[in-house]
Each structure stands twice: as C-alpha cells, then as structure tokens.
Symmetry: D3
Subunit: 237 residues, 6 copies
C-alpha cells in the first residue's frame, strides 16, 4: 500500500495552467499533486557564443527552488552565491530533454530559455518541470509561428517525464516526497510522444537492483508517460 | 490622465490569497494589479549569531525576482552568483518594515523569515511585498500562538506600503510600471495601521521636488495605506 | 542635551580639503567632525555599456569603509569577496544624488566616478560622502572645462546631505555615532542649493513617527543643508 | 567499423597502477586506453556536519580535469572560481557509486574522500574514475583494517562502470572521444561485482532510442563490467 | 641622472604621521615622496583558528589600494569580488616582515592586524607599508603595554624596507613609479634595525642580472634601510 | 646531518619525463625526489587583451596542487571557489621566470601557457615546476618551429630553479619537506644557463640572516642550478 493510497501505476492529479504570465512568450503552471512548478519560456533573438554563425538555435533551461518550497526552509541560492550541484544537474536535464524534440536548425538563430521555478515541492520536481516546460515551449513556438519567425514549426514531438521507483519492495509510478525519501531505487524517465526514450536515470539508493526490476520500472514509465502526453494534448487542444 | 485610466488616488485592484503553501507557517500571494508576489513566512527556533543569548527574536526578509517576471528576461541571480544592490536594498527594507510592528522581546528567541518572490512585476513590487508579508507574518504568528510558543502574540499593529509619485506633473498613488518608468519623482511610504510612519524613501528621478509636492505625496500615501490596511483586515477576518 | 554638547540644530565642524590627490581629476577630503571621507573624482572617456550611443554621460559612485574606520575592525570587503548590502545601498544613493545636479546630455559621452572611502567613521558617512563628492565633482568638471571637453559646464546646482533624527525625544541635526546608534528615528536628506529635495530616507528604528515629527526633521535638514552649501561655496571660492 | 578498429564489445586496454602516491591511504592511476585518471583515497576521522552523531560514516568524491587534459585547453576551474555543472554531476555520481558497496554503519564515524583527477582525457573519464576509485577505496579500507579502525571491513562488493553507446547505428562498448562526440546515444552503467545495477544514465544525443536498443546497451554493459571486475580482482590479488 | 634629480642612494622625503586614527590601537600615515600609505594596527583578543591553544599570538596584514591611488583608476577589489594575486603577495610579505621582529610567544594569544591602505601610489607601496606598519605596530604594543597585556613588550627590533633597482644601467635606491616602470631589475629588501636580512625579493624585468650587480643593490639597501630606521627612531622619540 | 642523509650541496634525484601527454604541445613530468609536478605547455594563437596589437607574444603559467598531494588533504581550490595567495604567488613566479628566457617579440602574437600541477609534494614544488616547465616550453617551441610559426626560435637560454636554506645552522640545497618546514631561512633562486640571476626570494622564517649567510646560499644555488641545467641538456639531447 502506498502512503497516498494510490495504486502502483496511478499518477497524482496532474494539471496544466497555461498562459498565467503576462510577459513570457509561453507559460505553464504545472501541478503533479502537491508539486507545483512554474515554467516560463522566453524567446530571444540570440544564441550562446559558441553557437554563433552555426545556423541553428538553442533551447536551454534554468531551474530553481524557492527557499520555502520544501518542509524546511533551504538557503536561497542567490544569497549563497552559487547554484548547487543538484540544481545544475536538473537544469541540464531539462534542457537536453526539450532539445530532443526540437529541430534546432529549423528554429534558426534564436534561443528559447525555460525557467522552471518550484513553488512547492512534494517529489518529482524535475519530471513535472520537463512535462510542464513542454507546454510552455509549445506556446512559445506558436507565438513565434504567429510572427512568422520560422518557415515551419520546429517542434517534432511531445516530451514528458516521470519518476518510477521501488518502494517497500513494490514498483510504483510518480513518487511523492514520502515515497521518494524512502525508496530503495529511484529512476527518472524522459520519453517522447512516440515512445522514444530520451533520458533514463536510475539510481539504487540502497541495494543494487536487477535488470528485471529495471524493466518493470521502464514499463511503468512508458504507461505513465503515455498518460502525461494525453494530458498535454488535452491541455493544448 | 493616467495610462491605466485610474484616478490619481486610485489603487490598483489588490487581493490577498492566504495559505496557498502547504509547507510555510504563513503564506500570502499578494496582487497589486499585475504585480504578483508570493510571501512565505518561515518560523525557526534560532536567531542570527549576533543575537544569541539576547533574549529576543528576529524578523527578516529575502527578496527575489523570477528571471521572467519582467518584460525582458533578467539574469537569474543564483546563476550570476550574487544578489544585486537593488535586491539587497529591497529585502533590507522589507525586514525593517515588519520589525517595526513586532515586539521582538515578546517573540522570544525565534526567527521569522519572509521570502518574497516576485512572480510577475508591473511596478511596486516592494510595496506589494511588504503589504503581503504582513499577512504571512500574521498567519505565522497565529500558527505559533496555537502552539503556545509565546505568552502573548507580539504583533503590535498592521503595516502596509505604497508608492506615490509625480507623473506628468500630477501626484498619483500606486504607480504601475508605465508610470514608474517615466515618473519625475518616486516615493515609497511604509506606515502602520495607526498611521505611524515607518519608512519614507523619496527620490527625484529628474528635477528635485519641493516640500509642498512631498507633502501631497505623503497625504496620498496616508489615504492609500489606510485602504490597504482595511483590505488586510478583511483578508484576515 | 546631546552627548557632544551641541545644540539641536548645530552641525559638527565641517571642513573640505581640496586637491589632496596627485592623480584624481578632482579630490576632496571631507570632515564632519570625526567622520573623515576621501572623495576622488575620476573622468573617463567611456560610458556604461547600456548607455553607449545614447549621447549622454554618466556620474556614478563607489563607497567603501576601511576595515578599521570603526571602533571594532570590520572584515575587509575585498577579502570577503563581496560588498555588503549597506555598501551597495550607499553607493547607489551617492550616485543618484550627484546625477540630480548634472546635465548628463551636456556632459557628453564621458563617465565621472566618485570614489568615497571612509577613513574614519563617527556617524553620517553617507551624508559627508555626498557633500564632499560635490566638491570633487566640481573640480573634475572644472578640469574638463579647462580642456574644453564640453561646450558648457553641465553642473546645475550644489547638492549636499545631512542626517537628522530623533534622539532622546528631541529633533537633532547631523548625528554622530553615539546619537545615531541610539536614535529612535534616523532620516537622511539630500537637497540642492536652491532647496529642491533630491532624496529623503527616513526610518523608524523604534517607534513609528508622526507626520509632525517628520516635518520638524525636514525643517532642520533644510537649515543644515543651507549651511553646508554655504561652506561648499566658501571652499570653492 | 569503430574508429579505433575495436570490435563492438571490445574494451580499450585497461590498467591499474596501485599505490603510486606516497601520502594517500589508497591510490590508483587507472587507464582506459588514453584516458588516464588519478584516484586518491583520503581517510579522515570526521564526517560531514549533517551526519554528526548518526553513528555512520561517509564516502564522497571530488572530480577535476587538468586544464590541458583535453585537445584544447580548458579554463582552470580554480581560476574561474567555480566548478562546472558537469564536474559536479560527475563527482556526485562517483560518490553515490562507491557508497553503494560500502556498509556505512560498519565504517563508523569516518569519511573517505576519493579525489579523481583526469590527467588525460579520451572519453569515459567518469567510468574510469569509478572503476579506479574502487581500487583506491579497497586499499584505503585495507589500510584502516591494518590499524583496526573497524570490527569488520565494510566493503561489500566490487563496483565498476562503463559507457556504452550507439555509434554509426551500432551498439558499442567503452567509447573513446571520437565515438563519444558523434554517438547518437550515450549511456553510463555502474554495476557491482554480483551484477546488481547501481546507476544507469542514458541520454539520446540525437534521435530518441527504443527499449530494444537500450537493452542491447545494457547487455553490452553487463559483459564489459564483468571484465572490469575481473581486472580489478587481478589488480588486488 | 634619475628622473627626479635624486642621487643614486638618495631616498625620497620620508615622513611618519602617528596617531591620526581615533579608533585604531596604533596608526601611522607614512609618506615616501608621493607614495602615501595609511597603516592601522588593530589589537584583538583572538588568534587564527589554526593557532588556538598554541600559547602564542599572531601578527598579520591586509593591503589594499584605493581605486584612484594610481594614474588610471583601477577596479575596486571589493566590487570585483576578489583580491588580485599582487595584493595577496604584498599582504603576505608585510605580515612575514613584521612577525620577524615580534616574539609571538611573548605576545600571548592575541592578534595584531595591520591594515595598509594606499591612498596615493608613486612606486614602493609595499616598502612604505612595511616601514610605516612598524610604527603602527610599535604604538599598538605600547598601548598593550600600558594595559599590562603582557609581561614584557615582545617587540625585538625595528624592521624597514626599501626597493633598489637598476635603472638606465645605474643602481638606485627607493624607486619612484617612473623609475620602477622602466627598471631592468627591481629588488625589495626588508631588514631589521640590527642589519639582519628578513626578506629579499629580486626580479629581473628584462635581462638577468649578475651576482655583482645584486651585491651593489644589497649594499644600497643596507644604507637606505639604515636611514629609514633612524627616521623611525626619531618618529617614536 | 640532513634528515635524508644527503650532503649539504647534494640535490635529490631529478628526472624529466618528456612527452607524456598526448594533447599538449609540450609536456614534462618532473621529479625532484618525491616532489612530482606535471608541466604542460599549451600554444594558442591569441594574446591577453592588454597585449593585443603590441606585436609580441606572452608566456604565462598556472599552478595547482592536487588536494592529496600533501600529507593531509587540502581543500580543492576549485571547490573553494578561489586560488590561495600562495598559489597565485607561485604561478606569477613561474611565468616571470620563463619569460626571462624567451624573446617575446620573436614569439609573435601567440601565447604559451604552462600548467604546473603538483601530483605529489615533498618540498620545492615551485622550483621543480620552473625547472620542468622549461622542458615543456622547449618542446612546445620545437613543435612551433616544425610548423614554421616563427622565423627564429625565440628561446634564448635555459632557466632552472632551486631552493637553498639554513637548516640546523647548516647551508643546504634543494630542501625536502622535512627540512623546509623546520628551516630557519628559505630562499628560492631562479637562474639562466649562463648563470644570470632571474629571481631571488629569500625569507627568514625565524631569525634574520646575515649577508654572509646569504652569499653562501647564493653560491650553493649557483652550483645546484648548474647541475639542473646539465640535466635539462641531457633530457633534450
């Protein structure tokens, strides 16, 4: 039995609130249960220095957690003067995940930055951030399309993410904080709408796990991501 | 005529959304028109090092702006490795303002930190942050009261803030970004429920201003803060 | 009775020592009693990046306190790796104050930087810095005038600053450290030679103050700044 | 055909040079072909602050690349004033991998730090670092055993790592830089001597990959890590 | 002929202004011609962490240059967020030089910090700083003696410093900026009142120099330091 | 008697391992007994900003110590976010020493960076780094010569370095850590193949030393550097 009473494959209630920002070219407040992440897409007519003149664009992400997004207050990274290793790891993952479904040459020499800020955390902030950022990215690209900033919309597919893990010996999907902090194994999966795998990150927190166990996690992830993609489709309908 | 069509003394629509955070001891999402600030109060059983053993508590604040809270995306302060002078100035102001209405000895050796994060900016983020933080502080102190963490609730009064300025030669209250960026003079006032002045910060952006003009600003501020305090009272009723 | 034996409106002994630096285009060692600040003006043929091509110049300031300017030694900001919030607040104030009396378009695409370094502190370092920087700025502009670096000297007026406060229930001018550290209210005023107000920053350290009290402070400041401007006039005569 | 002429499953020449450091409690210079990493284990009688009094020890890692370990010189992280996101990601991975095979309670309140410094890079620095660090850790624990610093050696198993990827459409093991920089998919696997999975990190650099492809990578990794563990066994024999 | 018209062995006009700081336990404004350095000694009842319980004290120094101490304005180190390599080298040298004439055991568990801030630079700031710091140190130790903070004054000798160099092929003493910036060889010497050598730092800026030349520099330094020590003696008389 | 049993003038066993890096244009692993330093030379077609257009090149150095190069583990400078004063002092010394034997105009607008990383420290890391860097520099210039990157090889002479000191009252050469940490006086000498002096840095750790003693150190240094230059000649033969 899961602490939340959910069935092993059952996701938390997921919702997408589009366009909540007056300024951003795309925005989405995504909720995976009590995990709430604001995803804002910014379109800029520039690319990183190392990409200048390469005839292609860039999609990148920055991630942050508000100091009291968690049960105990964490130090503010801006006050501390640096981003933690965890923060950097997550923002690199979000950026890679979104680039996997964008034709960067088709985008042209522009940059889209996804700012993912966690308002409230209850496990799975990175998977929510990826899933919600896709919506913000979709809206930003639509905004660009309306301004004829490219010949053809460079978005190639959906992308969504879920964490699956082994908790109390059972394989479960979309772990909340209670489960996450006591899981034996925790794996994050990022997949496209067509079911292609973009990222797999599995970590044995306690005992190493077997290939069989891992395939169960992967199977659960495929099912869960399928549901998330359906929800994305409804949200942009 | 003001860009927004408001009358000189007319505030923007102000709202307080209490208790939106599952974790914080007090929380308030305050809206002054399109300026939206999340204010979260954290109660901790500790005081800053320089106050140890002094038999009193502390109230402090941290302020941040999400990178795309504004029309153009700003660099993330955590990525930049430091907080700007403006950020530090504002968070020091918020802390002082709230301490003015708390009996720190009565609070005992505890610290309350107000995290004010601007989700969307349209002028007046610091005044909204102070006004909304009072609500979060109120709730945090009620939370402490329920746990008998002090003999008597140390909150002594309301505190609220407003910006007034001279725009197109006219004295106006609660400037939005359009007005703020072209105002000749911009002044922030922080006052208590009883009308005491806690902070005054007036700056001539262009021409120096006269004492008469300043008194008009002060008078407008008194009226506006009176309204804000009424709205705070309704919000906690 | 004030700790120093001064009358309520009485300033400390103020002196300006011009041209003490062999290198700077303008320099002034200002003394407000035991508060000693070196103000050096540097003229450079450049403007900040965000002002390039705007056809106007810039006046800015940096502030620092030598580690042993105070009773106890403070950590050196360069060793600590960052400027405190207080330092940044003060240097922003000095810059704004001086810009209020300079015609930036008339200055042309040049930058004048005022370096204000406190050698010895006894309260009122920021007001002394503003008042002394005006002298250094005056001399730097004269230096430029002699080199025909502009058509018309862009200095429009004097600017000077004073702190006034409520100490032991009495309204007093030009607080020294003893008064400052126990004042109920502390306000800094920056005004021009013609009496226009450039900046007002009033803070209730203890009890909020009333409008009446504030007007008394303002009145004292007007008188004191009038005296400072007279002293500036004598210094440059 | 692989650029190096190797067969798909064929590892580069792997060697371990133990005890090359006069100071460290354990040390190993590991070579995966032209990738050379120094792994030094330091034993200290302390634990991180958050583990004090918890009755268990800690194993952690730091990773660095010498500026000219690569074809072009990179900026020195110490001169730049911060570690890159990539560096932090890798050192966190090394630490987690080694902790998976150590009984931290059995270790007692001690900390073992693995310093992994890349002298020369040719792809796979993190997998070489993990594999070589195990040797350094083994020697450091033997050193502690000789000093009776615990009742029972807390090392529970071998741990080793390999990268596998899809290059030119073919599944290959132990990618060198040439392959790595043009691989469609790159995955790092960390496994124990008994074949348990500790970490899986798979990333689609270009096209998303299928579950079938991923299982081929996993299978190749199992074989390769089996070989690495055999080589570790020989090295400590 | 030297640019200043001085004879080869001739020092610039040297003066010591003692006790100019109201707060510091010892203070000296030293002038070597147009090089002006403020040296302030702070006595604290603490020692660095690594010296705790060792039964001895510490003497250390910090060095800084005001941004416009030089012909062109340099960036403020506090604003830049770090001290340059040059700054660190000099402050380490000052500290070592003074420790050479203090009996640290006799000092007891106290720390004396010398803050050397260059107001105006014209070559030889480090040698002026050492020579002037000795005066500030002397006064701080007298201050301690008056308070019976040790059994016997731990100051064992004078210490002073001078730069000598080869300029236009000629060996000259106490180089000013004009000479320093075009010298072939520049050497700094620190010696005690009894003529013992504490530090020698010689650098060939252009051609390597011979042992003979070096001995000429050393001889000139001995003479010059002898004069500086006499001047110190007069200053404290 | 020296702790190592060496005669006063006797160097430790010195060896140079050339070309150990696959990437660097020149490389040398230098060993002075148990002090092992990797020196890698990087050739780049650029010069520092302040040298642009000056028609000459630059030779510079960076120095680092691996955290466990020493008996106790030191904090990693990259993790700490800054280089220590000692590190900066040493890397500036290495750069100056090598520039003394290179014709920078003849080098043309190129930069050669020497990365000196200490793998294992046992005293004398800076002298080993200078002596080994010369080999790496030699090889890098040969590499450039083979590519006709200049008209004439700009290397003018050998350069090597040694530390000499007074230990137990005796003048000894090439101090190891045991001697270094208890030496009364420690001096580093950098000289060319022709015997010209490039740098002298002598420090009295305890008692000041006399001119006679210093000349003995210098004499020992001349002999030792002569031997080092012979070893360099053999190494490049």
């Amino acid at each position: 039995m899961r602490p939340s009473g959910r069935k092993p494959h059952e996701l938390r209630k997921v919702s997408f609130e589009r366009g909540f920002s007056k300024h951003a070219e795309g925005s989405c407040l995504v909720r995976f249960g009590d995990t709430h992440v604001m995803c804002l897409a910014t379109v800029e007519e520039k690319v990183p220095p190392w990409l200048k003149g390469a005839g292609k664009g860039w999609v990148t992400a920055e991630y942050g957690m508000l100091p009291r997004a968690t049960g105990d207050r964490m130090r503010r990274e801006a006050a501390q003067g640096k981003q933690s290793g965890r923060t950097q790891e997550i923002q690199r993952l979000i950026g890679r995940s979104l680039r996997a479904v964008v034709d960067l040459v088709g985008l042209g020499e522009k940059q889209i930055t996804l700012d993912c800020d966690v308002i409230q955390a209850d496990g799975g902030t990175r998977t929510a951030a990826i899933t919600g950022s896709w919506i913000a990215l979709y809206d930003a690209l639509k905004w660009m399309e309306a301004r004829e900033m490219f010949a053809k919309n460079p978005l190639r597919d959906h992308v969504a993410a879920i964490s699956c893990g082994i908790h109390n010996g059972e394989v479960v999907a979309d772990l909340d904080y209670d489960e996450d902090s006591s899981a034996e194994t925790d794996a994050n999966f990022v997949m496209t709408g067509k079911g292609g795998i973009v990222e797999i990150q599995g970590t044995a927190e306690g005992e190493p796990f077997s290939q069989e166990r891992f395939l169960e996690l992967l199977s659960l992830a495929q099912k869960g991501i399928g549901e998330l993609v359906e929800l994305q489709k409804k949200a942009i309908a």
